[in-house]
Chain length 399, copies 2
């Protein structure tokens, strides 16, 4: 509840004025609260930060000067006492979000506070090479540039990549479905656009988005698991922080062993979660060629076929194995399921609940609940933008 000063790796600069660190951290705390809440009264900020009224006034004042937040008069709502102004993210501050997929590249303008202002989907007729994807992004962004320059301040670009990304330098180590291997994506895109670029695994960024604005808002420890057409990705929030691991690859739960008798996965392993729990057989069983998430879910829910239910149960059984492993390893408060995993759960929630509750180590599963991800279509855009914003949020004074 009380947030004040914090260790900020001051890196170099030789002289690390400590008072400066305090200031920076407090600015970051205030901006973070505003960002997450999309509008808080100043008086609430004083309570949440534990700082003095006058200090919060000064901090907010500095953030206003830096054009990161704006203060607006509160609606009078029957509160006794002098009304406290509402502090909101400045509509000026935006990040660009990019998500390359096999059939399209989506680019969005996202405001501080997580609002998607604009969204452009550029369809491609083939899987783009990395260089090509960068070219497309640069073209789209150049097309937006006048609008951006006139109305916004772009803090940077965040890219959500369906694959393993080394977060340190934004190199895509492996994006199997795009066919990318060791592509220095962030570097290329930065050079092509002039903006600072950060890149991350799509599922990890989805986790970040759910944690900041979605179903993980009030959780400190949860696992997010997403089922997409190309496989299963995931991310972990532990102790309130995203679990990155040594290089940013943490959370790859799709290749957990769930069946020793299973088939060989494209990854070379046997019986991975991803080989047993798949979207394609579900589509086939309900007789859909290609469908978006909602269609598939509706079809599954509407189906009365025993065969469909059996397949759903079969997949949930394997999902439960992976979840039990993950629960034992990470002791989360909640599991959030997205994509078709959410649909599977919607069809037979009791089935999965029971399997997870039938967990050997009672204490670990105690209090673990399963739920669905809250953010829909814009999940990855928000997550990617979140990544781009993270530098500003960590040190607002630098902007």
């Amino acid at each position: 509840m009380v947030g004040t000063v914090s260790l900020v790796e001051s890196q170099q600069t030789g002289r690390g004025n400590s008072a400066d660190h305090v200031r920076r951290h407090n600015l970051a705390v205030v901006l973070g609260l505003v960002h997450r809440s999309q509008g808080v009264s100043r008086s609430l900020l004083t309570r949440q930060t534990g700082l003095n009224r006058s200090t919060v006034a000064a901090l907010v004042g500095e953030l206003v000067e830096r054009r990161l937040v704006v203060e607006v008069d509160a609606d009078v709502q029957g509160q006794v006492g002098r009304p406290s102004p509402i502090v909101k993210p400045a509509p000026l501050a935006v990040a660009l979000a990019v998500n390359p997929e096999i059939d399209a590249i989506t680019i969005a303008v996202v405001g501080l506070g997580g609002q998607v202002i604009k969204r452009v989907r550029h369809a491609t007729d083939h899987e783009p090479e990395a260089r090509e994807a960068v070219q497309i992004c640069a073209t789209v962004i150049d097309g937006l540039r006048d609008e951006l320059d006139a109305n916004y301040r772009v803090v940077g670009i965040g890219v959500a990549v369906p694959g393993l990304v080394r977060e340190l330098d934004g190199v895509v180590r492996l994006a199997p479905h795009l066919g990318w291997v060791d592509e220095p994506l962030a570097g290329m895109l930065s050079e092509a656009t002039g903006y600072p670029v950060v890149a991350g695994n799509d599922a990890r960024l989805g986790t970040l988005a759910e944690s900041t604005f979605g179903a993980g808002r009030d959780l400190t420890d949860f696992i997010y698991l997403n089922g997409g057409a190309s496989g299963i990705g995931g991310g972990v929030i532990a102790g309130g922080q995203p679990l990155t691991g040594a290089a940013g690859y943490a959370g790859e739960l799709g290749h957990t062993l769930v069946n020793s008798r299973g088939i060989v996965c494209h990854c070379g392993g046997v019986g991975c979660l991803e080989t047993e729990v798949r979207r394609a057989p579900l589509l086939a069983l309900v007789g859909l060629a290609d469908a978006d998430s909602d269609e598939l879910e509706n079809a599954l829910l509407a189906s009365e076929s025993a065969e469909v239910l059996a397949e759903v149960h079969r997949q949930l059984d394997f999902l439960a194995v992976a979840l039990r492993n993950a629960i034992n390893t990470l002791n989360p408060q909640k599991i959030l399921l997205g994509g078709f995993l959410g649909s599977l759960y919607a069809v037979a929630p009791g089935h999965l609940d029971a399997l997870v509750a039938h967990q050997p180590l009672r204490a670990s599963r105690e209090g673990v609940t399963i739920g669905r991800a809250a953010l829909g279509l814009n999940l990855l855009m928000i997550g990617a933008a979140e990544l781009a914003f993270s530098a500003v949020l960590a040190d607002p004074a630098a902007f």
Copy 2:
């Protein structure tokens, strides 16, 4: 490298003087460095903290006053310039470490800095009930009290429990081998001895010890996995911090599925790591009834039986499955193996290395190495003491 101020949850107290937080954190940083290094020169402290000489002098001065560290003259070693005094943990500051097992309760006096000063092993002729264990501890500690009062300042007791412990309140949720269920251990022991008590899972505390003083000293992300007579326990350090999970149960890797065709585990699951990778069959194969870690290891290394090697390989194969899952989930820099798992690895290091290197997601396994835990007999004593010290280390000003 540069450490300065940090967010310290100031909890209540209403007025959180921010300057005070800075001071507290800096004291904690300095004490932490001294603690880990068991003696640093003051000049090195200034470099490591990034703080000013005069500030470090003041901080160390305060820690000296609080009797947490001592300054001693450095040995002259051919360094140009005025010699800098060495700051060491005060020999006065100790914690008590407790480790109840099925056949004995071990109690130790451990100094700040991780030195085991005294170690008492109280053998029992049967598995002690929790109440009984508390009684034994209280008796032993009462016996030590004169000595303690005369020479030391006891900051508290840390208990390493072979089971699931809710860290919040030190309740042992389940210690299968001791037969304890929902025992308020910390509360009982605190009442019986008058010292503040904290309790944690033994493997997790072993991880903490390895992280602070052992093979994990310079690592920010690693997994520790220990094989004991009663099963496999583990712990995780992620981002330099112990991974606790929501309630402190994180790191239970012993019940990862490694074989769908396996037998039923005592936990109710099928094919858990713990059911496939066990100490008992190894002992049987080398013809030992009961042996300590070293004996078993020597016997395994000396054996030329194909049968023994086959069993070692079989167990390593299953261990590799669990490790691959864990690597995908956590993306560590290193895996540390303790107990008989370390021995297994010693017999056929190449075998396990190859299995883990044959990892599907190349990027994740990149840079992952396997090693052995460094701390031996006193591992749990040091880990338990570490837990007891953590309050002092987090806020030295309170002592």
